[in-house]
Amino acid sequence: MGVFWGYVATLAVYFCIYNIFAFGLNIQFGYAGILDFTVITFMAIGGYFAGVAVLGPAQRGTEIYYIFGWSLPWPVALVIGAVAAGLLGFVIGLIALRRLRSDYLAIVTLASGSIVYGIINNDNKIFDGGAGLVGVSQPFGSHISTNPNTYSEFFLIICFVLMVGCWLFANRLYSSPLGRAMRAIREDVDVAEAYGKNSFKIRMTAMVIGCMMVGIGGALTIAYVTALSPAGWTTGETFVIWAALIVGGRGNNWGAVVGSFLVAVLFNEATRFLPNIPGHPNMISDIRNMAIGGLVILTLWFREQGVIPERKAKFMEIPLRATRAKPGLLAVSASGSDNA
């Protein structure tokens, strides 16, 4: 029983983490229309900062170098990871959100992500370069059990609680007037500006919140895997999260959940457990990427809005006051329809 449930728990952990990524991207893209083509960078920053906050100081003579090394308790590290990702999002937002729209904004995020990747991969003094961080202790690992299967089940609880927190946060934001203003900006930034919405400030809010959420996902990832290196967050990983959101349905957090399950769990993670074909070591991962690509194309072709499309905003049904005075001082003509 242990092994099977451990396996299920592992997949469930990834499912929860991908949900958090997808919520974060949904706030950026689904709500505010920001084409963040470097989502995975914020996951990495969240993970690295949480990692170096948990790790002890780098030891001299081990050829392993990283900054900080504060030996902090894990919950604090989680916050540090989220804040670090949010700060990077803020800096990239300063460049990308002030003047740029859609495709140009996407290019800037992609380029910024490449710069961050290049720096972290090549400078081995920050997060130990290409080798990455290893040996990050698992949260409460010493108190729980050394059995990895049991631990997965415990860690799943942490992930699930955080995921539910992000879910509630994201939905509250969506249904608030702020979320509505974000969607107005997504629909037409000029009009929203003409109606007094400060599009830079509001999009920056979405950017930073989204990045912090993705950072939380990153902190969970490094805590679970206990290691993170640049090979684990290449540009391709960004598009797995994008694929999840597009297949599931942008603008709808249920869509994000369904997309995460289909793309991130079913297609991405589950196939990692398939046996390798002898003589073709990369076959499985190539097939996986092709399958995800095909799924995105099929979605855009047949169900552009995703499996669970964005829902219409619901408002309380208030009857027009029966005693409503003059049908309105603005009422002009009795013909309600026009044939324009």
Binding site: L178, G196, I202, F315, I318, P327, L329, L330, S333
Partner: protein, 290 residues
């Protein structure tokens, strides 16, 4: 839930006594003084490359009036609207709005002060509902502050309810009540134009800039939009600057008309006065080159 739709598709305006349901929501600042200058454009200049699109354009708009801005194609009308609304900055000159120098302000800052514009083509928020389009329009909503959303939801619940009631009434006034839960992108061209005006009502503007509100709509609807604009001035105290090519419409609704040609103000007055003005007539016939 009782169906509130019944009989609303074609609203019948028959109830009598005034409870001033609409007037009550109009803020006190919409027209404290019905006279005086609300907007002053002072020798605005804007070049695009070597072309002076607007070249020394000056005029004033009085409160509580509908001012028309006319002129042949290429006269610089849309550029002038863009300069006033902050979409682009003037090379030189000043815009004074409600007593403040607002030259070069970003559109959202001007909107916050009560200067709202519409665009030449209808630009509704397509994948939001008609009702949501209106709900998104009031200025300075308390619920658009992140802190309030998560820690002080009480700060905007009442406001939200007020906006909702008002939105429904405004939709009723514009004959769009039955469409309130449709996506705005699915409205007809004429309905979209009405939605633009309805949205503007929700923003309670002091000055509303309309860029060719009658472009591409049928004559019956032109009449309807005209009446809505006049009603907004009379009951809500909104001041208008309307760029329009349809001179009959301009004559019918505008208190005051500014004629532009080649980027500057050619003449001002009532439409009747301008019709008799030789320079204006020549400009229309020749584009102003003569």
């Amino acid at each position: 839930m009782p169906d509130t739709d019944t009989g609303r598709t074609s609203p019948s305006y028959n109830s009598a006594t005034s409870e001033a349901s609409l007037g009550s929501a109009v803020s006190a600042d919409s027209s404290p003084t019905p006279t005086g200058t609300l907007l002053k454009a002072d020798t605005l200049v804007r070049h695009f490359g070597g072309v002076a699109a607007v070249d020394g354009c000056s005029f004033e708009i009085s409160r509580n009036t509908i001012t028309g801005l006319i002129g042949p194609n290429g006269a610089g009308k849309t550029t002038t609207v863009n300069l006033i609304s902050g979409a682009i900055r003037p090379g030189s000159g000043h815009v004074i709005f409600d007593g403040d120098d607002v030259t070069g302000f970003a559109p959202h800052r001007l909107a916050a002060k009560g200067l709202i514009r519409t665009f030449q083509i209808s630009r509704e928020y397509k994948s939001m509902t008609v009702l949501e389009n209106l709900m998104a329009s009031p200025r300075n909503q308390a619920g658009e502050k992140l802190f309030n959303v998560f820690f002080r939801s009480g700060a905007y619940k009442a406001e939200e309810r007020r906006h909702l009631e008002r939105s429904l009434e405004v939709l009723d006034d514009f004959g769009l009540y039955a469409k309130r839960n449709d996506y705005a992108g699915n409205l007809s061209g004429g309905q979209k134009r009405l939605l633009e005006l309805a949205r503007a009502v929700m923003a309670e503007p002091k000055l509303l800039l309309l860029d060719e509100p009658m472009a591409g709509i049928n004559p019956a609807l032109v009449d309807k939009v005209t009446e809505h604009i006049i009603a907004m001035r009379d009951t809500l105290g909104v001041t208008f600057l309307v760029v329009e090519h349809n001179l009959e419409v301009v004559e019918r609704m505008c208190d005051h008309v500014i004629a532009m040609a080649l980027g500057s103000t050619l003449a001002t007055g009532t439409m009747a006065q301008l019709r008799a003005n030789q320079a204006v007539v020549t400009a229309y016939l020749t584009g102003g080159e003569a």
